[in-house]
């Protein structure tokens, strides 16, 4: 009896959590599969299940979706390049600070940590102006570089923590065999760091794919912007086709959601490792 009472009490917590989490996502999904007339009906289920919205998206048959595939490609390109660049820069920095014990490395680490803690929306204001001065405004490279700037600090921090845990005897053994620093990086360090590198690459990739504010500040041409910005464009008119917007949103949200679930153990690991010890 007591067992059932306990279970019932847990259920009383579980049910609101379930509803709270899922209602907005349910709403998003339902509208994605609803015909146009349902948009203002405010119903929990589509009056008629349809994939028409997705056909319109795939065929780019709407004013807001004229550049859908181009924008999807832009999002992908920017996310992949930002992910790879972050990985490269952060791996070099972490290897240098943690394994080569470069003088001044801890200073660089502290500056990186401070950058990690600057609210992104604050840095966006001067960064926008400075990108204009550099002549990068409206070029996709400006967004890529901005994302690398935002992603590197956390990437370096996590990679440095992981590096510190590798035994130094490995480096010493390699040195005895006459290995140069670059050989150690390539032959000893990179293979051992693989799990962390995968996690950090994913982190930077998703950060760039999900970014809205920097993307809408730095890019403007319809054929240049990312999907995130294109979704924001729907809001410019009062009579927005919300079912199309939600369907596009669903297409945009699925890839990162899948990746997040695949890597969620890595994603949360770095931050908690530091925070619990602090």
């Amino acid at each position: 009896m007591r067992k059932y009472l306990n279970e019932a009490r847990l259920f009383l917590i579980g049910l609101p959590v379930f509803l709270w989490t899922l209602i907005p996502i349910w709403h998003l999904t339902v509208l994605s599969f609803s015909p146009k007339d349902d948009v203002t009906a405010g119903t929990w289920l589509p009056s008629q299940f349809t994939v028409q919205n997705f056909e319109i998206i795939a065929g780019q048959k709407h004013y807001y979706l004229n550049h859908f595939w181009q924008q999807f490609g832009n999002s992908l390109f920017i996310a992949v390049v930002a992910g790879l660049l972050t990985l490269l820069i952060a791996t070099f920095a972490a290897f240098s600070i943690s394994r080569l014990k470069t003088r001044g490395g801890s200073v660089v680490m502290n500056f990186a940590l401070a950058t990690y803690l600057i609210p992104a929306a604050f840095l966006a204001v001067p960064m926008y102006k400075v990108m204009g001065q550099y002549g990068l405004l409206n070029l996709q490279w400006s967004l890529i570089l901005a994302m690398v700037t935002l992603a590197s600090p956390y990437a370096i921090w996590v990679l440095k923590q992981a590096s510190d845990k590798l035994p130094y005897e490995l480096d010493e053994a390699a040195i005895m065999d006459g290995a140069t620093p670059l050989q150690i990086l390539r032959l000893v360090y990179l293979p051992l760091m693989k799990p962390s590198l995968v996690a950090i690459g994913t982190y930077a990739l998703l950060l760039a794919w999900n970014e809205y504010l920097y993307a809408f500040l730095l890019l403007s041409k319809d054929s240049d912007v990312t999907l995130a910005v294109a979704l924001g464009h729907f809001l410019s008119a009062d009579d927005s086709p919300w079912n199309l917007l939600m369907a596009t949103g669903l297409v945009y949200a699925l890839p990162p959601a899948a990746i997040y679930y695949a890597f969620r153990k890595y994603m949360v690991g770095g931050l908690t490792a530091g925070a619990t010890k602090g």
Binding site: L22, R103, N110, K160, A273
Partner: protein, 302 residues
Amino acid sequence: MLMRASTLTARTALDSTAATGHKRFNSWQMWGALLLVPYVLVFAVFVIYPVVYGLWVARNPESYARLFQDPVFPRTVVNTLIFLLVGVNLKFLIALGLSGFFVQQKRWIQALLLLFLLPWAIPSIPTILSFRFMLNPEWGLINNTIFRLFGIDGPGWLTEPTLAFASSVLVHIWKSLPFWTLILITGRLAIPTELYEAASVDGASRWQQFRFITWPALATLYLTSTMLSMVWTLGDFNSVYLLTGGGPGDQTHVLATLGIRYLRIDQLDLAMASIVMAMPLVLPLVIFMVRRLAAGEAKLAH
């Protein structure tokens, strides 16, 4: 003879080790510096210069005078403080409670945890827009349901300034609650279960177990996380901008959206001034957190 030869070889070997050792040291420092260059460049070009430039733009006291004359500004400051003090703390109280719920190893609870992570796993734009549409006072899902159930018109979720702002706070909590709950779950999982077993043998109540075992073990993590979240929440542009756009009547802005609003109407000095005004709040948090994260890292290295 043989012995001499061997000592000789040993000597030359020693000398050459010393020599390569010296060379090695130099080449290691050189490579170390070289490998740091890419990040230092990114940092200098895209962090240091923009920050210095921004502060230079905001050097004029007149900008601050104009900022204070803008009727939107005081409201924005109050909103930002409410967002941080009420929003973040509410989020953490819920996260603390939910982490106790999700830490239980029942199968349905673990399945629910996977669902619960969805808001964190999905990009925020589509879900915030879903909220925006759901909360639409005229034809949104929520008010339609209220009308169907009770036959009354629901409140103006996004047209009433106070409610619109509260909705932004809720959307923010919806989005970032899973992440912080997950952090607190890992914190709770690190507490040895023997402590709880011993406590229940001694007849300790649930509250006593929380008070004397869970809270002392979680307190540091809880406070560190709360502060981290406060800094990041200051930069939460999406929850406000995509839900209310700062409206109605510019009454739901926070500093993050106000700065961008000034930037969009080409008032860079006001944008920077409003950000500088947040510095007394940001800098202590940043300095404190850098120390804490760097110290935590040092401990981990041992």
